[in-house]
Symmetry: C2
Subunit: 345 residues, 2 copies
């Protein structure tokens, strides 16, 4: 595949200064709030009443599991700027084992991408995928099929290209072995693991249904999506091509339906990948799957730009680039691309 | 006990007009963001690797449950107004089976209390209690002791003084039997149940530890707390009396340590109760427990005001008064009390 890189010079030298100066300005909102979309009701009946000891040492209580339960809904929080400069809203979709908190303040307390794009004048909709965070979860396997996956504190360190491979994590921060030049904030890792949530691997269809419900409520829009949400972003756009004005895929770990790549031909796509990929055991394949899918979109007449950050001089980014030390340099790159695509007023 | 009611005339006639006019003004923030506080690491070792079928019909995958897990952390989101008028920040703590979403937009899409108090100039910190929402949850009973409790869609309708008792709920909204004059928005109930999250009954100490961590980070402050958080609000204030400048207890379903009521003698307390309590099977006792505790604080030299909303002419409120149709009338009552206590600039 051919890499279509954006020139490093497109992202001004004044970025750091601009971000700092801008952070002093108040944020002016015409509205803010939240809602849930989607979901369905599941009826449980004929189940035995059981005795459960809720508190250690406590008296067993009878629990009747029969009744109607809500499942599959999705939480969305929105912030609408007074001085809107995005031509459509911007939807933020996080990756697996995570929630929309990824896009809020960084785990070491700096400005996150949600605030960055809000300050740039975008109406921002940030959500928690189905069965995660404020979207809630339900009894399993009765209501949600299958079992949840729990991540250890070591798992993202070794898997998200922060630490230098297997056994690079240590409970003692001083003994952790970082990839050389890594931009993930060392002071933030122990806070970052507090963002981890359990996730299922059986809920992709429920998640897509909820994202479709969000798109039907909020869009036309730009969708920015990360990692596991790769398949969600591309598939939802394939199902609603008229409602999606651009896709920003941050290290997508999944793709859309390759046989329907043409559905995306009128939607500009930006894919962004961080550093340390070539030396990783998994990421060269994950990236190739994504860029091959991008090539199919291009072959169908679409417009796909792939940015490998090191190739444009932005070095050291982990898989969690929205919270890396240079996170605002990456978001400015995305902002510049969105402006170039005439998606700002 | 003696009811110390606020006069209805204390809450201006211009409320409805004021709220409407105010909703047109932009919200100006000097900062916004989120963080996690508290929590601990739990080590699992020596557990067998098991085979789990993650996707229906899928190939069993080996799952190694051994490792270090994060638990007990709490998510806090904050909004700091440009023109601050609260003398200290305002912390919002939700009730059982819920998250901080309770205080955001109402389930029928109106302004919630978070925005109301932010517009009044308070720095607002809204959180999800430990093991709920964006605070995440962990393996049980290995990491979190005990079992989670799941609520049916009918449960809050019948228990939160919305419906007229047992069997008042029906999946068909047209067939639901509301308490006469109830202020809960009928159009919002099916959205409201999407806010329900599982909860444990074994985690009170973990929750208190996390709230203490929040107070130590953010306060001095005013704490507003609802329902299950009754015990959390009073106990945390008893543990940090110098850091809490006022307590607003919204239908507290639990209390502090009665033997340490004197610890609260310098902290003004407002308790607010809704309608339909006298006819309820549980709420007269729950209220009496709270007001008896209030009497102990008063006897120790403290200041406790109890407002039964119907007694001051505000009728029809459910247990979820922050989302009732007249929710801004109730929040204005609280705002007026806070102003009277000289907690605003």
């Amino acid at each position: 595949m051919k890499f279509r890189v954006l020139a490093a010079t497109a992202f001004g030298l004044s970025l750091a200064l601009g971000a700092t100066a801008q952070a002093q300005e108040p944020i002016s909102l015409r509205a803010m709030g939240s809602f849930h979309v989607g979901g369905k009701l599941v009826e449980l009946s004929g189940r035995p009443v059981t005795e459960v000891v809720f508190s250690p040492g406590g008296v067993p209580a009878k629990v009747d599991p029969n009744g109607t339960y809500q499942t599959g809904q999705m939480y969305v929080q929105y912030f609408l700027p007074q001085n809107e400069k995005g031509s459509v809203p911007l939807l933020l979709w996080h990756g697996g084992g995570m929630t929309g908190v990824n896009y809020e303040s960084t785990p070491d307390g700096r400005q996150g991408w949600l605030e960055f794009f809000l300050r740039k004048g975008w109406s921002v909709y940030n959500s928690d995928a189905v069965e995660r965070g404020r979207s809630s979860w339900a009894m399993y396997p009765d209501v949600i099929p299958g079992q949840p996956v729990f991540l250890t504190t070591a798992n993202p360190f070794e898997r998200f290209r922060i630490g230098d491979g297997v056994n690079s994590y240590n409970a003692d921060p001083a003994k952790r072995k970082y990839l050389p030049g890594n931009q993930f904030p060392p002071d933030g890792y122990d806070n970052f693991v507090k963002q981890i949530v359990p996730r299922w691997t059986s809920t992709d269809d429920m998640i897509i249904d909820a994202y479709l419900a969000e798109v039907d409520k909020v869009c036309p829009c730009v969708i920015m999506f990360h990692s596991q949400a790769g398949q969600f972003g591309f598939k939802v756009a394939q199902a609603r091509p008229d409602k999606v004005k651009a896709l920003v895929a941050i290290e997508p770990a999944g793709i859309g339906d390759p046989t329907k790549a043409a559905a995306l031909k009128d939607i500009p796509v930006l894919m962004v990948f961080g550093d340390f990929i070539d030396q990783d055991s998994r990421w060269p394949t994950i990236r190739k799957n994504a860029t091959d899918f991008g090539d199919k979109i291009t072959a169908a007449g679409g417009s796909v730009e792939v940015v490998n950050l090191p190739a444009v001089g932005i070095k050291g980014n982990s898989h969690m680039m929205m919270m890396d030390k240079n996170n605002l340099e990456v978001s400015q790159l995305i902002q510049t691309w969105l402006e170039k695509k005439k998606l700002t007023k």
